[in-house]
């Protein structure tokens, strides 16, 4: 693809002038990423789809506020905020503020009521192959993480954002991002180890 950033800037400018079709090109470009993040944070497909759609609608309405920075990050900020709104609405956990989750000890890791079958995945059991099973295990362990920690892990490790970017997207301080990331990684490691015996040999060998 030639000079994508130029094309993207042209699309953004057209969208700012009210050309919805130009904005929809951006939608198609980023919708997988947006849905991925939304789904992994919310762990529910329907909620993730709603949040993704709302995020794009919100982005189009606010396109005038885009000041030429990184469009992907700008869009991701909207998606993350939409996820926060959805999480607060659902109130899956007692703490209304996701930032209050830090310091809950083991509550960070296991949420018994959320524990899903090992083989549960968005692909369905029948599609489970070695890689698929592994992915399912990871997704399952992610699901068991508290949202405040899960958001950080999804942004930093799954999506590859830097500490600073993750802090900006989540509205959490840099120090808290680092702290939560370390604890989330340890928790996921423990969860994966727990299921290691059911994993393919490759993983177990690497782990042991």
């Amino acid at each position: 693809m030639t000079n994508f950033s130029n094309d993207e800037r042209t699309l953004i400018t057209a969208a700012q002038q009210g050309t919805m079709d130009a904005f929809n090109v951006l939608v198609v470009t980023y919708q997988d990423m947006a849905f991925s993040v939304a789904y992994r944070i919310l762990q529910e497909e329907e909620a993730a789809a709603d949040v993704t759609q709302n995020a794009f609608i919100s982005a189009y309405r606010k396109i005038d506020q885009f000041r030429g920075e990184n469009f992907k990050s700008w869009l991701m900020r909207i998606v993350t905020n939409a996820c926060y709104d959805e999480l607060r609405l659902r109130k899956r956990h007692p703490t209304a503020s996701l930032d209050d989750i830090e310091g809950e000890g083991d509550g960070l890791y296991f949420d018994a009521e959320d524990e899903a079958p090992l083989m549960a995945s968005i692909e369905g059991p029948e599609k489970a192959v070695q890689r698929g099973e592994l992915q399912a295990v990871i997704e399952n362990c992610l699901q068991q993480l508290n949202e405040g920690y899960r958001i950080i892990v999804v942004l930093a490790d799954v999506e590859g954002y830097s500490y600073e970017e993750a802090a900006s997207l989540s509205g959490i301080s840099l120090g808290t991002v680092k702290s939560r990331l370390s604890r989330a990684r340890a928790s996921l490691r423990d969860c994966l180890r727990k299921k290691a015996e059911l994993l393919p040999d490759q993983y177990r060998q690497d782990n042991n």
Binding site: A49, I57, R61, C83, E86, D157, V158
Partner: protein, 375 residues
């Protein structure tokens, strides 16, 4: 194998080390430890694998096309985030209308007051009976009475008691509302000011509250109305006010009755200065002498709207404006020390006119402010 297996600071250091985010001094220290601490090393490796697995997660495919349609912009799909713009717009529009409506209403009422004041001013010039009434009141310091006399022209005195019934008086009181509250007396001398005080503050506020407070006031008045016959309405008034009242009683009684009669005859709520003058006078007198006279007829203003038991919002505004007008008159008189009611002039700038102008300015200002705010 729990999260707390190693110290949190070590966990933090390992995690940062994995990302290459550990500053050189700490990094060197950690690497030295890793070389001699197998547990720490194992921890590092397990964390490294975990991060690798997370990074290996494939990007999910969007379950559908999330491209926008014009219909979407009018509403949001189920869930949060996005923009629920229609509702906020509707709310803001409603708020806009409500404030603008209140501002426009008070502006209209203020304009009416101006017209009424003008009319009253012209009528006041015709009245010549003030001196006697004023003379009676001077000693009492009831400047408000003078004003009342001015407006009413000698009608109050000349017109025999209009046979104002208690019912009429009480109905008037309902319209008076706030005026009955002694505690709200402005610094003006005389009891008659009491009724005026309460409405005045309400009027002075932004135009918006004009309508809401008005309905509330009648209820207040009703409560006070019941207390009036018991002659306790002015217990809370300032001492000087009470003394003025006492001084009032005797001389005011007759005037009160006269006023009461004229009050009864007042039919229009427009606060006609001339027509209301008689009633106005008695009203103040009545109020002042409330302690001694059973018939409440408190606020002067009610007189103007006496005929109407259920004033419309516009009339409520006028009523309040009238009350405020009376207060203003009292204040003006006290300041100048001279009765503004002197009908030496061909046209009298009645306080009502002043109030109307002030109200118009305030209303216009409120409308402008609201419009500016909406931008």
């Amino acid at each position: 194998m729990s999260v707390n297996r190693i110290p949190p600071e070590d966990l933090l250091a390992l995690s940062a080390y994995l990302d290459g985010a550990l500053p050189p001094p700490e990094r060197i220290t950690l690497e030295q430890r890793l070389a001699v601490e197998p547990t720490l090393q194992a921890e590092l490796e397990s964390l490294r694998e975990t991060v690798a697995l997370l990074k290996s997660l494939p990007r999910l495919k969007a379950p559908r096309d999330f491209s926008l349609t014009p219909a979407m912009l009018g509403q949001t799909s189920k869930g949060s985030g996005g923009g629920a713009a229609p509702s906020p717009k509707i709310i803001s529009i409603a708020r806009f209308n409500r404030w603008q409506l209140a501002s426009a209403a008070s502006l209209a009422a203020s304009i009416m007051l101006v017209l009424i004041g003008l009319f009253a001013g012209f009528n006041a010039a015709e009245n010549e009976n003030l001196p006697s009434s004023n003379a009676e009141l001077d000693g009492l310091g009831a400047t408000g009475n003078e004003i009342g006399f001015t407006d009413a022209a000698g009608a109050a005195e000349t017109t025999p008691v209009l046979s104002l019934t208690d019912a009429q008086i009480f109905s008037t009181e309902t319209q008076m509302a706030t005026s009955r509250q002694p505690g709200s007396l402005p610094g003006v001398v005389g009891t008659q000011n009491v009724p005026i005080a309460t409405p005045a503050p309400a009027l002075d506020e932004a135009s918006a509250p004009v309508a809401p407070p008005a309905p509330g006031q009648p209820s207040e008045t009703n409560g006070d109305t019941e207390a009036i016959p018991q002659d306790n309405g002015q217990d809370d008034e300032p001492a000087e006010g009470e003394s003025a009242l006492d001084t009032f009683d005797a001389s005011a009684t007759q005037d009160l009755q006269a006023a009461g009669a004229s009050n009864g005859q007042t039919t229009t709520g427009s606060g006609n200065g001339g027509a209301n003058a008689p009633t106005a006078i008695p009203t103040t007198l009545n109020y002042a002498a409330t302690t001694s006279t059973p018939p409440p007829t408190p606020t002067v203003t009610p007189t103007r709207t006496l005929a109407q038991t259920t004033p419309t919002p516009a009339q409520e505004a006028i009523l309040m404006a009238s009350l405020e007008a009376d207060q203003e008159r009292d204040e003006d008189i006290e300041k100048s020390g001279a009765a503004e009611g002197d009908e030496n002039q061909d046209f009298e700038v009645t306080p009502l006119l002043i109030i109307g102008l002030i109200g118009a300015i305030v209303s216009a200002g409120a409308m402008t402010y609201n419009t500016w705010r909406k931008r």
